[in-house]
Symmetry: D2
Amino acid sequence: MRHLAAAFASVREQSCRLVQPLSAEDCCVQSMPDASPAKWHLAHTTWFFETFILERFESAFQPFHPAFRVLFNSYYEGVGEQHPRAQRGLMTRPALAEVLAYRQNVDQRLLALLAQVPAADIAGELATLVELGLQHEQQHQELLLTDIKHLLSMNPLLPPYHGPDATADADAGREQARALRWQPFEAGIVEVGHVGQGFFFDNETPRHRQFVEPFSMASRLVSNGEYLAFMEDGGYRNPLLWLAAGWDWVMQQKITQPLYWHQAQAQFDSAWREFTLHGPQPLALHEAVTHLSFFEAEAYARWAGARLPTEAEWEAAAAGGSLQGEDYFGVAWQWTTSSYAPYPGYVALPGAVGEYNGKFMVNQYVLRGSSAATPHGHARLSYRNFFPATARWQFSGIRLARS
Amino acid sequence: MRHLAAAFASVREQSCRLVQPLSAEDCCVQSMPDASPAKWHLAHTTWFFETFILERFESAFQPFHPAFRVLFNSYYEGVGEQHPRAQRGLMTRPALAEVLAYRQNVDQRLLALLAQVPAADIAGELATLVELGLQHEQQHQELLLTDIKHLLSMNPLLPPYHGPDATADADAGREQARALRWQPFEAGIVEVGHVGQGFFFDNETPRHRQFVEPFSMASRLVSNGEYLAFMEDGGYRNPLLWLAAGWDWVMQQKITQPLYWHQAQAQFDSAWREFTLHGPQPLALHEAVTHLSFFEAEAYARWAGARLPTEAEWEAAAAGGSLQGEDYFGVAWQWTTSSYAPYPGYVALPGAVGEYNGKFMVNQYVLRGSSAATPHGHARLSYRNFFPATARWQFSGIRLARS
Amino acid sequence: MRHLAAAFASVREQSCRLVQPLSAEDCCVQSMPDASPAKWHLAHTTWFFETFILERFESAFQPFHPAFRVLFNSYYEGVGEQHPRAQRGLMTRPALAEVLAYRQNVDQRLLALLAQVPAADIAGELATLVELGLQHEQQHQELLLTDIKHLLSMNPLLPPYHGPDATADADAGREQARALRWQPFEAGIVEVGHVGQGFFFDNETPRHRQFVEPFSMASRLVSNGEYLAFMEDGGYRNPLLWLAAGWDWVMQQKITQPLYWHQAQAQFDSAWREFTLHGPQPLALHEAVTHLSFFEAEAYARWAGARLPTEAEWEAAAAGGSLQGEDYFGVAWQWTTSSYAPYPGYVALPGAVGEYNGKFMVNQYVLRGSSAATPHGHARLSYRNFFPATARWQFSGIRLARS
Amino acid sequence: MRHLAAAFASVREQSCRLVQPLSAEDCCVQSMPDASPAKWHLAHTTWFFETFILERFESAFQPFHPAFRVLFNSYYEGVGEQHPRAQRGLMTRPALAEVLAYRQNVDQRLLALLAQVPAADIAGELATLVELGLQHEQQHQELLLTDIKHLLSMNPLLPPYHGPDATADADAGREQARALRWQPFEAGIVEVGHVGQGFFFDNETPRHRQFVEPFSMASRLVSNGEYLAFMEDGGYRNPLLWLAAGWDWVMQQKITQPLYWHQAQAQFDSAWREFTLHGPQPLALHEAVTHLSFFEAEAYARWAGARLPTEAEWEAAAAGGSLQGEDYFGVAWQWTTSSYAPYPGYVALPGAVGEYNGKFMVNQYVLRGSSAATPHGHARLSYRNFFPATARWQFSGIRLARS
């Protein structure tokens, strides 16, 4: 129990640390419907604990504020109505200070609850829900960083974020200068999905068997320099390299480079620069390319004479060794060619909390691994991240595969 | 000169007073593309003085911040590029505090400039531009209030604004309980447009002649209670009362009442309430109805067996007496049936500042008078306000006319 | 009565003559929501006679087809439901042949009705409605030509129309080589609106007085060559020449020339060509420019140091002489700067037929005169045509004015 | 060779037979961007033979019409430009008669080519391309029927199609009155993909191994009556039954029943009816439900306590017996839960014809089996049909599975 309380305090504190470099204004604004304000992340993660735990386990439960149940409900139809997603940025009230007070109130009540409950019971449903809430909060910590990066990138002043050390690394990338090797894997039945004692989301289960034909996996991620070669070879102008829907997207959105790349205009060298959480930086050619859509990753792979891996291939390869420097984790999420779908025998969690994962299993593609913005201890082999094929504001990159 | 400096200080101070009840978050967010953040209003009005006056008259001019020239340019193509209007709310930087510092800096420089210039010169171009800047700022003071009202209305918490006394009256309306009388006017040539010594915008000139056929004008504005009768008579469900484009708008936007009216749900009396700058209030039946589109005003007039006045009729009637309690000014802007168009012989101001009025003379309808949110001393007989036929977030109401 | 029957037969026959060069396919398709299929024009004009006349005056009235009352109702809410405008082109049934049979049936019944009614009664409501129906049909004859021109222009094969002689002239234009003179008019009260015995629409009444300040009017329309000079001077690239909404339109729609102009690609001379009802033709520099939006007409006028006339100015000038070769009629509709609005004292026709004109009096601009596509005898001094500021598929051109 | 020529003549003739009950108008119009005019189907399938075969193998090749190469190119970037998809219905020229002449011309030239070529060569590339062209044409025959059904359904007259006997059955469905049984399958490795001598598309290869966990498959398709029970149980009003994106679609599009179902209004029994190729019919409760989106199929399955099968499960089950009356083929396409993706080792055909399948492998879901509208001999075990999750105008139904 003390362990859980300590974990709770630590994760909750980290969210507050992430917003310390930000003003109340920075925390309030929503830069696009896909992104949420930092203040909303702070409140919604608190709402999760209040609604799914305090409301159920606290005797004489009183909501912190009666309107918050709707205001900070993201998408749980089982809980009831939700404030429209695209209007999250209009909530100048409650103020940031009130949301921080909300956090403090719920934290105290939850810690009190944990202290009351007999240790024997902790192994049960309460502990499971607290752990789920912490994992949920960690997911939002990464989203908070990607959403803030997007907001700052929309500002012509291109201000840096100046985050805490750990997270300032989100854009650090990792050297990719070593030669790319192809690691071969033989055909056979592999097991896919969560195994063991640690935490997992329902979408990682049940562990099941898949047959994988022979394939090879790249020993590292694609670098900025390699991606630049694709661009300089006319990658964004050749329809034959793209999925039809990807080409339509490139044409309609006038896409010509990764999300945060830009060329210094009116300068003698017109060098490529990239907006990062540290502000604009010269493009680091040897680091992993990030902020790519599935469409861009897929087109690059075709240009490179390769393809994206499937989930099963990725999990088998990452499990089978993951040598030093292969960057399966901690650099960039890696697009797979697998549509986000239920594993055979998948059953969602019961109750409203069961809307967590399953209802998004359509028209999204799975990313595996983790990024430099993923909280420490949050990633694991069976973790399934997922986004639509056009999403680019996450730290998403490319690991190539071949049949 | 001292008079101008005093006026400058007073108007500039009033803008700051308007945002005092607001948080930095309140001042940053843009609730719809038509509205602007309060912080943007504070910065743009300052930009006007810096760009059109300091840049021209200050020796050794240095911009306060090199990026502001684009960031806070609203629509002056002659000045150069503009930050996209729909993205004004994404500017969490500069922070509110920096914008207030920008105001102070420009205020000091402008007052210094006024102190330097020989009195004889003041009658000239500099004084004219300062006066234009102050009138411009007063326009934005009213917009700031209507934009804040819209933002707060989008928040499910429906927070009140708590403005300074003078502006808290914006929603006060005025008693409309007296019986409506029809004041007759004979046919004849009337003069329309600005006359005299005071300030005027270019769109109020040249003063010219119009022939007006006989008409009658209502002695007061339409009240909430009268408008409610229109609603209860099925006004929003009868296409024959509406212009075709108005009916399309009603159907597509599902319009069923004035912008800020709502019925208390789940209450035994389901009484009508109206969101005001003081928060939600019971509907005051005898006060003037406001926040109507041109389409609603026009449909109401048809239902009432009347019509909207033309600009010339309004100006003739308002000039010819405007008895106590007729509310030509200070309650609500009054839609006319006149499209916003140049007066015969109209010439825009020279230079970039000439983009002020003329380039908007299409697909907009003129409103006359002023509202309770209009700054003191800003209204006048020849003043031409204008908005598209669907605009509702201004304090816009109805004065009826008849042929 | 015999005169009315003869006029009826003649106008009705002309509609059929217009579609003779067209296939059933040509008559069925709708090229954009603003345009209607030729078959729909044939059916709707027939519906007008059936619904407003036969249904009312024919004893033992039976509809030709019970579904046509909704199918071919354009916008008369008083008649009832309407088939959605944007879906007019989906009606492959009734076939063209059935619609022609519908026409024959209604024609016979209407002629029989006219033959039955005592001559004395003809001067009354029946005759008025028949005359209204014929004027209505003539309006649709011009629309049919402009809609067919638009449809054929969307076909990469750019097929010609090969219409009957009279209408083949629609694109003939008229020589504009003579020098442009400015005809001066003095200030004074003018009478505007219909006067006399002939037919008129309700929107041309009541005749009323307007005061017009001194102005001059151009002696002819603007030519293709003059408009080309505007283009070559960067007219479409200079925001200072445009109304703000016009500039937005130019940017968003990527407008760079009049609707049907195109430059022959891959040819050595890259000469300008214009798609006409005769197919593509070399641009005739001395003919009147047509197919311009209000925005383009207004921008051209500003570039030329002039402006568009008001309705009153146009009517006064056209009444006061209209010398040979001044082209007030029969070449191109002439945009005015007047928004389409009710004349003082305007009253719509009673009943459903009263939805004809009045309900469109918002966000449209008046065009005066007539074009080469206007049926003979349809034009008159007080005629008010009207379209939105972006409409370009009509034969719309420019006559300049000056204060 | 004679066999191929006979097959060619037979398939080509069938396309013409399908349009015999249709007028030129019916064949010209496009009812939505997803659908194409019948005339376009006739021309595009001919273009396929002309472009991919005659242009390559015919000595002294001359195109039938130089503009057709662009006009009737669907999406082959390797061939060059394409006429915009949403504008296929604007092509009133070439007329239907010209398109039929185009067909005849290409047919004669292709048969002449087949007659010239030595038999030994026929087994080679030419024969492969002819066979591909015929399969391609058969796909368009089914699309032609679904597109015509959609067009006629948009007509308030709801006209029937009156097709040839074979195709008139497209809406015949099949009795589903027998009880639904669950057929169990054991876990194990199955082979998926094309095997044997017959024709196949590239997307059915390479045949490969998949591991399938234990599952059961329904012995027949879901019936109209069963689907009606889902509706009557509030299926379209309960968000917990739907994928999140499916629920958004239901709300935004106001979906309340399968595409062609409607309730007879103003009738005493308000019975459900379904628009079919025979016109409106009473809903046949025991026939298979069709015209469902993936979202509806998936929600129904959840309501029924089951799920959709994967491709591998479907293929294994259909291969393993497919007893009389199980309706794997010939009734309705069956949605699977498998996103359309490349098989391991998939390689597209070389050249422009390789754009046939692979470039659509994103955001689409696979349907297996065939429908009553599928041409005889076109279906096979490994066939992969695919549509977006919202598509409803195909004959798409539901076969349930369970883990």
